[in-house]
Subunit: 133 residues, 2 copies
């Protein structure tokens, strides 16, 4: 079975890059600097569906994404989560959070209304993310 | 600096066990089967504050906790998250979720009012968790 990105994730994000294990996506919500990592493993819904090697790689990629967002934004905290109640395909949110943001100190999921990026702002953030790798 | 469990985590949970890296806690909220893993590393606030060896161990312990909760509850999905907006000490939530639970499909954090366990029910769940290890 071939990996195929879930259509809901595709609709909500812009492509950043493919890392060794994960497809890296930018969530289209200008309220929060927010990456989503999707391991390119067909049928994986839970972290424990990955084999031990992939789990190590995923953890490394989570750390890489978190350090990158922290460096780019100077945020107070990185939120990391694999939820999947709505989209079962395994995907990991890595979100830069700071006091005063639109959901602080609550979680970003289900909080208020998404604010899509203006295309120029999205492309500028994508450029900064890609250059930060 | 010695590891010391954050007082808010201590107040909200019951002790389950110490695993090789993490202190395992049961969240005192009968609405959700909910474990919290706290790596016993003083000063760690982010996953990337751990060294590579500890990160592997933490990921293994997350998988162990998730598989255990899934086996005990037959839940539809495991939610895994390291947030820390309120309590900066690194801690990882591992929560069993199913359609129809008190927050489904939203996140458990900040959702409604906590329902503390009756002591007998808490002890029964603790017994099942400990026996499941």
């Amino acid at each position: 079975m071939e990996f195929r990105l879930h259509e809901r994730l595709a609709a909500d994000t812009a492509l950043v890059a493919d890392w060794p294990l994960s497809r890296i996506l930018l969530m289209n919500d200008a309220r929060f600097p927010w990456l989503i990592l999707v391991p390119r493993r067909a049928g994986a819904n839970e972290v424990f569906d990955l084999d031990a090697t992939d789990r190590v790689t995923l953890t490394d990629e989570i750390c890489r994404a978190g350090k990158l967002l922290k460096a780019l934004t100077g945020c107070a905290k990185i939120n990391v989560a694999a939820l999947g109640n709505a989209v079962p395909q395994l995907h990991v949110h890595v979100v830069a959070r700071s006091p005063g943001d639109a959901a602080w100190p609550g979680p970003v999921w289900g909080s208020g209304q998404t604010v899509p990026y203006a295309p120029a702002a999205r492309d500028e953030f994508l450029r900064r993310v890609v250059n930060g790798f």
